[in-house]
């Protein structure tokens, strides 16, 4: 034993290096190649190979080979019986010649003998076969001693762990890829559902056909003009699509009344923001502002809106956007009791009501969007598609928007919050 101690020290040096190699997040292939070198060099083994086990294919696929030659198979199949025996054996050395009862050693007997592969170690990590070690004869020509077999197992465990880690990593990567796809699918499904819902809301209101869908689109245009992130724009659009969801519970005859509705009917209709909020609050949305947009889309900066008569900064930003989109669509589409107003009138209305009903910075963003399209600075003609070409080409529209933009100040000059608190 004393004369073996330098050997032992040399082997332990290799073991320590192998542990380090596996711990370092190096290239996996290089780690495996280095591992095989360390193992061969630790004990003076002439040839060998490290394989990774594929559970699905039941194959030992060579990751690194030394001195096994071109004829040695790079992929060795394992049968159910072999698998069971390897698992029962655990991470321990198997003498290839003594294990001839197993199909694995019978099938590959010629290959093993030709390259003098004497030992096989199934790399069993946590009751799972992750790979295998194939080891040839020692340079001394001597038999493997029991302590050498122990060193082989210790090093095999390191290699097995490296393979196992690699497998886990690959699995995580695959899962995250699947998750991303799944998430994208869900988002698409959600967006489709939202649009389908908007269409359903609009069906109830035959005179304002397509209102929710258009409000969704105007809301999206405003959010885009505000340079929000794609996700925020999507959230804003959703808020627009669903803002009138509460109308689903309002009697059809009130919504479709071809006249100005009376006070009682008006009170009934005015419940729709709160009802909408309650409906949307019960749904788990990817965008948190959606229920708030429904609840407060009829609020005005000057506190004269409903249901809560909120002032300026008390109103959620998203609700201000939807309010502008909603009002713009109401002005630019025919209603049962009112024909749509000319574009220049609408621009004038927006300008005059900026700071009263609408947030000035939003009016600016909206008008800037229209103007950019009129000047052909945008890729797609989204306003034209929503409003019609003729409407958009109205005489003097461009100068009207330009002068309104010059006049508007981006920040709200109102101090409604103070007024509200004083009341």
């Amino acid at each position: 034993m004393i004369e073996q101690s330098p050997k032992l020290i040399h082997a332990f040096g290799a073991l320590a290096e192998l542990g380090q190699e596996v711990a370092n997040k190096n290239n996996f292939q290089e780690t495996i190649r280095t591992s095989l070198h360390l193992l061969s060099g630790a004990l003076g083994i002439m040839r060998g190979g490290v394989a990774r086990y594929s559970r699905y294919a039941r194959e030992m696929n060579m990751l690194a080979v030394r001195g096994l030659g071109d004829e040695f198979p790079l992929s060795l199949s394992v049968c159910v019986e072999d698998e069971r025996q390897f698992l029962a054996n655990g991470l321990n050395v198997i003498d290839a010649r003594a294990a001839r009862v197993l199909p694995f050693f019978q099938v590959y007997a010629t290959s093993f003998e030709r390259r003098r592969v004497e030992l096989f170690v199934p790399l069993v990590i946590r009751d799972e076969i992750v790979g295998g070690l194939f080891l040839g004869e020692k340079a001394t020509g001597e038999e493997y001693s029991s302590y050498e077999k122990e060193i082989i197992c210790a090093m095999g465990r390191h290699i097995g762990v490296a393979i196992s880690q690699r497998n886990l990593l690959a699995e995580i990567e695959r899962h995250s890829e699947e998750n991303r796809k799944l998430f994208d699918d869900l988002r698409r499904t959600y967006a489709d559902t939202v649009k389908a819902f908007a269409t359903a809301i609009d069906c109830k209101d035959k005179y304002t056909e397509g209102h929710s869908v258009r409000v969704g689109k105007y809301t999206e245009l405003i959010a885009t003009e505000l340079e929000w992130s794609p996700e925020q724009v999507e959230g804003a659009a959703t808020a627009g699509y669903l803002h009138d969801v509460g109308k689903l519970t309002v009697e059809r005859k009130i919504i479709n009344a071809p006249y100005r509705i009376n006070a009682k009917e008006s009170a009934e209709l005015n419940k729709h923001p709160t009802v909408g909020y309650e409906i949307l609050q019960a749904i788990h949305h990817p965008f948190t502002d959606v229920p708030l947009a429904a609840k407060y889309h009829h609020e005005r900066l000057d506190g004269r809106g409903y249901p809560d008569g909120l002032y300026d900064r008390e109103i959620p930003y998203i609700a201000k956007i939807v309010n502008l989109a909603d009002s713009f669509d109401a002005m630019t589409t025919d209603r049962p009791y009112k024909a749509r107003r000319p574009a220049i009138d609408v621009v004038d209305d927006l300008r005059r009501n900026a700071g009263k009903q609408f947030a000035p910075e939003l009016v600016i963003a909206f008008m800037r969007g229209i103007l950019r399209e009129l000047k052909s600075e945008t890729k797609d003609r989204r306003f034209r598609r929503l409003l019609g070409r003729e409407y958009m080409e109205a005489e003097g529209l461009m100068p009207a928007i330009s002068s309104a933009l010059n006049e508007l100040e981006p920040t709200s000059t109102l101090t409604y919050i103070a007024v509200n608190q004083a009341q």
Partner: protein, 109 residues
């Protein structure tokens, strides 16, 4: 097929005979880069060398990777029917080679 690497035989050192080739082990031996030495030897064997002389004059210590690479050189040479000579080996290295059985396959100079 001569790779322009630092362990190429130095022309100044010269070749002992037409059938003999010298490779300098250097300190590349102990890393994965040492595999270049194996390729170098294989090239020389393919070119008809009957003897590979591995020069250890620039090699201080040899670790397990180095041993493995030298075993690869020995294996390739034996398959080609050529012999391997180790020259200028440090005593500690010679002891290690003896212990691991490398000396059974090579001539030490």
């Amino acid at each position: 097929m001569t790779e322009n690497t630092s362990f190429d035989p130095d022309p100044a050192v010269g070749t002992p005979s037409a059938q003999s080739a010298i490779v300098i082990a250097g300190d590349y031996l102990n890393k994965l880069t040492g595999e270049k030495i194996e390729r170098e030897c294989r090239d020389k064997l393919n070119a008809g060398a009957r003897e590979i002389v591995v020069d250890f004059s620039e090699t201080e210590i040899i670790n397990s990777i180095g041993i493995s690479i030298l075993l690869g050189v020995i294996d390739d040479a034996q398959n080609a029917g050529a012999k391997v000579v180790f020259s200028d080996l440090k005593p500690e290295s010679a002891e290690l080679f003896d212990m691991l059985g490398l000396t059974k396959h090579v001539t030490i100079q």
